[in-house]
Amino acid sequence: MPAEKYDVAIIGGGPAGMSAASILAEHSVKTLLIDENGRLGGQLWRGSAKPAGVSRFINPLNNKINLAATTGYRNGSLLVHSPACVLGVFPENNILLSSKEEGIKEVKAQNIIFATGAREKVRPFEGWTLPEVMTVGAAQILLKNHQVLAASEILLNGTGPLIYLLAGNILKQNGRISALLDRSTFTNLLAATRVIGGQLPKLGQGCSSLGYLLKNRVLPKYRRQIIKAENKGDLIEATTVEISSDGTIVSGSSRQYKTQIIAVTNGFVGNIELPQVAGCELEYSSAKGGWFVTVDSSMETSVNTIFAAGEITGIAGGDKAVIEGRLAALSILHQSERMSKSDFENKQKPLLVKRKQYQRFGTYLNHQWAIPSKEWDTIDDDTIICRCEDITIGKLRSWIKTGFTSSSVLKRATRCSMGNCQGRTCGPLIYDILAAYAPATNKRPFSARMPVKPILLGDLAQVEVIQ
């Protein structure tokens, strides 16, 4: 079976992927845009929920997308394959795809742009596995994509702008907020205004949410962290404490809240698994939110012809992702001689300046989100870290103490990260735990293997090998 061939395959249809797609479409580059959701836009833009369809030319719905994507649709250069999941990327840019409609198939592209986005990170506590505890993103998706308030009463805890945005949205929908607990401090919030720099819209968004909070007399409490959630009949009881900046608990600061649903967030980590499978070099930086894909100023990874854009090159939000998507697309146009060197450099230069600005904002946020290493000491032994295999922090600590100080040996000893999510949820926590208890050990992420998402063996057995 001959593989479908494309000039460019973009994996991920969020801000980075769609920005790249719109530039490539403008230049009639034969592009395949693959997204695992039935709607484009990623977790940030979220196009409206569209019934599943496959291999159809569509007009990306989001108004934030340059109309050039529509041009691509009209001139037939852009093909959108969604929902479809990429299971692996092999040498010579062979991509293994899985979708409900077409089963598993392989496609080939001269260039690949990884724009796989980020997922949320949550600071674990006793009871964070209860069905009544979800991420802020999950509550936001229910509200924005499905008009569903997770419950009439919600407690929010975490750091960063997202908790304020969600709080504002809950209040707009006449939901109640049991408490708004910000792990950060008010002074830190003020400091944000300095790094926001040229990003006035962001400040405006923040003020609009704060306005809603003030109107509804919801005042955030600072430095608070949930340490325990318990099911108390009809309601969930959250025990919270004040955390000082070094990660220790302020004595006598314990306070209980009752609520229906708890929404939590402690920042983001990049979805680096596919670039990792493709052999792209990774680096670790707490300023960039953990493991990220190394790229040069063309957004090219350590593997020739493979590019990365957006959160996977360092967590900094949607604005940086848009810039990087454009940069990657322009680089491909230049490298394939569709764009002159001078034209490319003229377009690249201002984008690189903006990228730097957004990266500064990202560094500030990642610093806010970081969990101080001493704080891991305050977490009780029976708190689950790996939710798929139910592995507790006590078990991890005791293995680390006996010398199992790298992620891969810890995995083999305890089965942590070997469940369905393949370490996506617990991985970033385990990297933190290893850094706290075995700081001298060389950092390495869990290895990622094809298929990067679980599939049925029967489906895999039906793949025809491309010669």
């Binding site: 596995t129 991420t135 924005k144 008009q147 009809d234």
Partner: protein, 110 residues
């Protein structure tokens, strides 16, 4: 906690009555019926199973390896906590699978 009565229906889907920026992008499809452990349940075409289940008041979707209750966590296809059985087939993620008319969803809420 897991009974559908745990959530007041008055406060669910309030967004659709309002012209609100947060919800403007949402177009609800036509009303359909699917089944949760055999019980007929309302949903809208084009929405995910997890949204329909949460809306109907279900929180626990399954049990973990050590028999602990689990439900929606990441809501975006990452964590695999919301696995449910569909039409007696293998378990799938409720948060990325669209609900369909007549679909039979089995959850482990016991």
């Amino acid at each position: 906690m897991n009974s559908p009565d745990g959530v007041s229906m008055d406060n669910l889907r309030v967004g659709k009555k309002q012209d609100d920026r947060a919800c403007k992008s949402v177009e609800l499809g036509k009303e359909i019926i699917f089944y949760v452990n055999g019980k007929p349940t309302q949903a809208y075409q084009g929405e995910t199973i997890h949204a329909a289940l949460i809306c109907a008041g279900y929180r626990q979707f399954r049990k973990s390896k050590t028999n602990q209750p689990r439900g929606v966590f990441c809501g975006m296809g990452v964590c695999y906590e919301c696995l449910v059985s569909i039409d007696s087939g293998p378990r799938r993620q409720a948060c990325v699978t669209l609900v369909e008319e007549g679909m039979e969803v089995q959850i482990d809420a016991g």
